[in-house]
């Protein structure tokens, strides 16, 4: 076969791909897809029934809220939404591993982590509705703003962690990113800085198998967690759809960072059940059978099975959680619809902390321009 014809075949791209470098990875698992508890030689967890039910509740709420956001986008209430469907365990497990004094640096898909940090889901929707570009006080919940440029936040997390170490605090920092971001220079630089300064940061990679349309094998030839070794710190791959394993591994990684051992990389092996965003069409590049395969590993279903089989929760509980999540969705729906558009003059707000003559001048000019409509026909129509 000539080179040319190979190129032509691949560029035609008729065949859809199966995502995921390494189909049968070594990973830490404490709860099988069937809902059976298994033990792991290095990582263990012992939760009370109430804690287990709490994780279930978190995941159901997150999924319900996420689904509501997708609907709101379809109804035109949001401009865009990046769904986390399928990644609930990776986010709830890791988020619940953090302490209040820890600091979280998310991407734009960490809705479940935000929930565990106490960020009101409505706050997350502002930027997707287009009423702000961030919209919450990061220091209120130690949850930084969503970061859209891929991988940038890994460096912010590392710098923040360097500061934590300088302060002599025993907090840890966690940086979220995805399999696509693992190709970014900023992530590699973050690994380098974190390693040489021994910064207390956990790099939490949700490998959801797809960076929009590109499978993980387009990003890496080795499992992502193995990259840590080259930088001189430990890496571990965990079943990202197993909330118990994610919680156990992330707790250990954060403890590793807190105890002065430096950074650690956690690769949560999971799957993006939805499209990249509401603007994406995943049917163009991946197979339904792959999605079905991952649906059988659903993070919520497996915990539900475990809770039911072990008699840790009954139908009343599941029904309550369902009802509460509906109430949450209702609150979100109504809250988004009531979210006002910002005033035009808000364009000039908070550009500088110490002021700037040009901003002052343009603000005054724009205010005068706006005022010129007042009382006129156009003004009345505005």
């Amino acid at each position: 076969m000539s080179v040319k014809s190979t190129a032509a075949r691949s560029s035609r791209g008729g065949a859809k791909r199966r995502g995921g470098a390494g189909r049968k990875p070594e990973l830490v698992q404490l709860l099988t897809p069937e809902g059976e508890r298994v033990e792991h030689s290095e990582y263990s967890i012992d939760l009370t029934p109430e804690e287990l039910r709490g994780l279930y509740r978190d995941m159901v709420f997150t999924r319900r809220f996420d689904g509501e956001a997708v609907t709101l986008q379809r109804q035109g209430e949001l401009g865009l939404w990046a769904s986390l469907l399928g990644q609930e365990a990776a986010q709830i497990g890791s988020g619940r591993a953090t302490r209040p004094d820890d600091y979280v640096f998310p991407t734009y898909r960490e809705h479940g982590v935000a929930w565990t940090r106490g960020v009101d889901p409505l706050n997350l929707l502002g930027m997707f509705r287009g009423v702000n570009n961030g919209g919450w006080d990061p220091n209120l919940n130690n949850f930084h703003l969503y970061t859209i440029v891929i991988g940038s936040q890994a460096l912010h997390a590392t710098g923040y962690a360097m500061g934590v170490a300088k302060d002599g605090a025993d907090s840890a920092v966690i940086a979220y990113f995805g399999d696509g971001a693992s190709s970014q220079g900023d992530v590699a630089e973050a690994f380098t800085f974190a390693a040489v300064y021994n910064a207390p940061v956990v790099f939490f990679c949700q490998n959801n198998q797809w960076a929009i349309s590109e499978p993980t094998e387009r990003q890496t030839r080795v499992p992502i967690y193995q990259r840590a070794a080259g930088f001189g710190f430990p890496g571990v791959r965990v079943d990202g759809n197993d909330v118990l394993a994610v919680l156990a591994v992330t707790r250990a990684a954060l403890e590793h960072a807190r105890s002065g051992e430096g950074p650690m990389l956690v690769e949560a092996f999971t799957y993006r059940m939805g499209a990249h965003t509401t603007s994406d069409d995943a049917t163009r590049y991946r197979l339904d059978e792959e999605t079905e395969e991952w649906a059988a590993k659903d993070p919520i279903a497996r915990l539900k099975a475990y809770l039911a089989n072990e008699g840790l929760a009954d139908e009343t509980f599941f029904a309550e959680v369902e009802a509460e999540s509906d109430a949450l969705a209702k609150r979100v729906r109504e809250g988004v619809r009531a979210m006002p558009n910002p005033e035009p003059m808000a364009i000039f707000d908070n550009i500088y902390a110490d002021g700037h003559a040009l901003v002052d001048e343009e603000r005054a000019q724009f205010a005068a321009y706006q005022a010129s409509f007042e009382g006129s026909e156009e003004g009345a129509a505005r």
Binding site: W136, S152, Y160, G163, D186, I351, A353, H356, A357
Partner: protein, 327 residues
């Protein structure tokens, strides 16, 4: 009370950083080779010895990493002053500066501050190899959220660095590297002018030369030469490219009625273009001639053997002065 001391621009920045490190425990100095070596220009000489490796930090050789981690440190409450070793090496960090540093205060609705100073030795005239002689200031002045300044004298180097370090916004601090060894008086007990206020470096009546950083000296030399020919030129040191002090500039041009803007950076869409547009708008009825610009060409910075031809010098400035006066 200390009396004014004579020192170089490099030493003035060093003294300024020393004062900031002494007075504010949150100030950090970061960059490649800023520690034992004292930076390739020795601007941070002795600082690590006196303030330790925890505060004067040698970083890995990765500019995006330097700025990105400085952002994180600022979010933690620190005030990092980072060095980019040369102008041409800032671009790996450009993404962090433009997409993150500049916008984060606004994105957080004002709830976080980003007091990060990025020091960049810039400009040509030192016979360097490629990427060591550039003037990218307009690329930063164009970005909302950043402040951009450049001192021309040791006194300004000292005080503007002090003010930049105390500023709660990100400041890109362009240091005129070919003037690092120029000497002047620094009064560390003085009351400095505001950071973004332009300075009349020389008074005159016939035409205003506006410049900043390394070109201020060139313009002063041009004004001295013009005086011999009977022309009185005012030299205005802008000091700040974002924001630009158009009020001081306007007052000068209303007096002299002619303006020539000089910088090393390419003229096309440069600082001079903005100055020309704004001053034309503000001083339309006062101008006797169009605002003229002297600066770099739309060409890559040339090899060192050609840089004397490329850089604005006395003759090129005076040529523009003659053309403006001929209107």
């Amino acid at each position: 009370m200390t009396s004014p001391k004579t020192m170089t621009i490099a030493k003035a920045i060093n003294e300024s950083l020393r004062t900031s490190l002494e007075t504010d425990p949150k100030v950090l100095v970061m960059g490649e080779d800023v520690g034992k070596l004292g930076g390739v220009f020795r601007v941070t000489d002795g600082l690590q010895k006196d303030f330790g490796e925890e505060r004067v930090i040698d970083t890995p050789l990765a500019e995006s990493g330097i700025v990105g981690t400085a952002i994180g440190l600022a979010l933690r409450g620190y005030r990092p002053v980072v060095e980019i070793q040369f102008d041409g090496f800032v671009f790996p960090a450009y993404d962090q500066i433009v997409t993150q540093l500049a916008k984060m205060h606004a994105r957080a609705l004002g709830k976080v501050k980003l007091p990060v100073v990025i020091r960049i030795p810039y400009g040509g005239g030192i016979g360097a190899v490629e990427h060591h002689s550039e003037s990218p200031e307009a690329l930063f002045a164009h970005v909302p959220g950043l402040k951009v300044v450049s001192p021309a004298t040791p006194s300004d180097a000292y005080w503007m660095m002090r003010q930049a370090t105390e500023c709660d916004d990100p400041v890109i601090f362009f240091e005129p590297k070919r003037r690092y060894w120029d000497k002047g008086e620094v009064d560390t007990a003085a009351v400095p002018a505001p950071l973004h206020r332009a300075r009349i470096a020389r008074e005159g009546t016939d035409l205003t030369l506006a410049a900043y950083g390394p070109m201020v000296k060139t313009c002063l030399e041009a004004a001295a030469a013009a005086e011999e020919e009977g022309h009185s030129l005012e030299v205005l040191d802008l000091r700040s490219m974002s924001p630009i002090d158009f009020d001081t500039l306007q007052a000068s041009v209303e007096k002299t009625r002619r303006l020539v803007v000089v910088h090393e950076a390419p003229v096309f869409l440069g600082t001079g273009a903005e100055v020309a547009a704004r001053i034309t708008e503000r001083c339309f009825y006062h101008l006797e001639a169009p605002v003229l610009r002297v600066g770099g060409f739309h060409a890559p910075y040339p090899p060192a053997r050609l840089e004397e031809d490329y850089l604005p010098n006395l003759d090129r400035v005076l040529d523009a002065v003659d053309r403006a006066l001929a209107f």
